[in-house]
């Protein structure tokens, strides 16, 4: 079924919308969740939560790209679940590696508390702009790694690059991001 038809079903409050979405994007969303959570059961629950949130979001929303819309919901839900799960202890896995990498760009000594949380929206915007200005291939790598939290070998296979090449490219992107965030005064 076409995405527009599925969205129409949501707008009509037809529960068939969830069945169709699950058929078309179930696997995809499961992969997105699994990249972050690294757990099949958690990922399945996360996908179910995604359908619920999508049901609650449409209407009023009418996403232009349903696939990306669902991916974003899944990813954010998965990350929330990841944070809740790893509040006590941090394990090891792709997600930890991704966060370690991003720590290079974060200002760990700086204050990022509730008062400054309003900056979060600005930070989102900044990162979006940063991704937009990257060359196509670098943008893809950035999205695959820091949005989808994909493993480096998987990214290398997707873009027919060597793992080393992907690692080096990501390192350069992080350097650019750090510089960009400094210029935007998000970090010192």
């Amino acid at each position: 079924m076409e995405d527009t038809a599925i969205i129409d079903l949501y707008w009509k409050r037809d529960e068939q919308a969830i069945v169709e979405t699950d058929q078309k994007y179930g696997k995809y969303c499961h992969t997105v969740a699994y990249n972050v959570l690294n757990d099949v059961e958690d990922s399945r629950e996360c996908v179910n939560d995604t359908w619920l949130r999508a049901w609650n979001s449409m209407p009023p929303k009418r996403p232009s790209v349903l696939r990306a819309f669902l991916a974003k919901i899944t990813r954010n839900l998965a990350f929330d679940r990841y944070r809740a799960r790893s509040a006590a202890k941090r394990g090891s896995g792709t997600m930890e590696a991704v966060l370690d990498e991003l720590a290079e760009c974060a200002d760990l000594s700086g204050n990022w508390n509730a008062e400054e949380a309003c900056m979060a929206a600005e930070l989102k915007e900044a990162i979006n702009r940063f991704a937009e200005q990257l060359p196509a291939r670098e943008c893809d790598l950035f999205v695959r790694r820091y949005f989808f939290a994909e493993e480096i070998p998987a990214i290398a296979r997707r873009y027919q690059m060597t793992e080393n090449n992907v690692t080096v490219s990501l390192s350069r992107i992080r350097k650019k991001l750090r510089k960009y965030l400094k210029e935007g005064e998000f970090i010192e």
Partner: protein
Amino acid sequence: MRAEDLFEAAGGIDDKLIARSDRRVRSSQEKPSSGKAAKRTKKRKSRRSVGAEIYRFTVVAMSTAVVVFLFLMARDLLGIRNLSDIRNRIASTQESSIAEPMQAEEAAAEQAEESAVMRAEEAAEKAEASSDQRDSNEAEAEESSEVAENRAAGSFFGNKTAVDMLGDLKGDYVSLEIISVEDEANGGSRLVPEYTEEGEKALSEAFSKGKPTPKVFAATGEATYYVYLTKKNGEVHRAVFYENAYVSMDNIPGVVMKISQADYEEVKALFR
């Protein structure tokens, strides 16, 4: 700000960017959906692989052809025929560089000798002494004319002469004579050896296929035979055979050639 905050913020990336990245990934992994498309892809791939094979083959063939061409060109330019040819060329270069000063020395010595003889003749008081001298000169002249006849006649083996025994060198030399060291010391005359196939093999081996060795490192043993080689221009080169199957040329100092013991025995057989 923590890494988690950054990761969360990355969740705000525009849907279009995410969709674009997804599209690129899908298009690179996409498989042809219909049978026709699959056939088309298969055909295209096989065409590509056949093309690649042809290209590879062409490159290899062309590069081989270029290498062979360059080799032939170099061979032609350098005039390389075979290893013995190179050795001969080197030897002849050394000969010419050595022969010139030697010839000058010989000429000077001859001149001095002649003038001494003249002075001696003038100073000679006795007629008997001068007549004896004349007799001995005549005897020497007779002897040398015999040698010359021998040289001219050579020894025949079919149509082959002793010079043919020199193998590759025979173009350079017109006469070959041989004498043992002992006979030469006793004033014996040189021999023109009879041509034999074994003799040719042995001499050719000795002159062109021997292994050059610095004389100081070679245990040559005593000199046993001399072989005199006369060039077209009258120059005479002496080759010395040693008891331990080595050969040296007087005009190539410091180097001896090792030959096989069997070949050395063949050279020795030329005297029997």
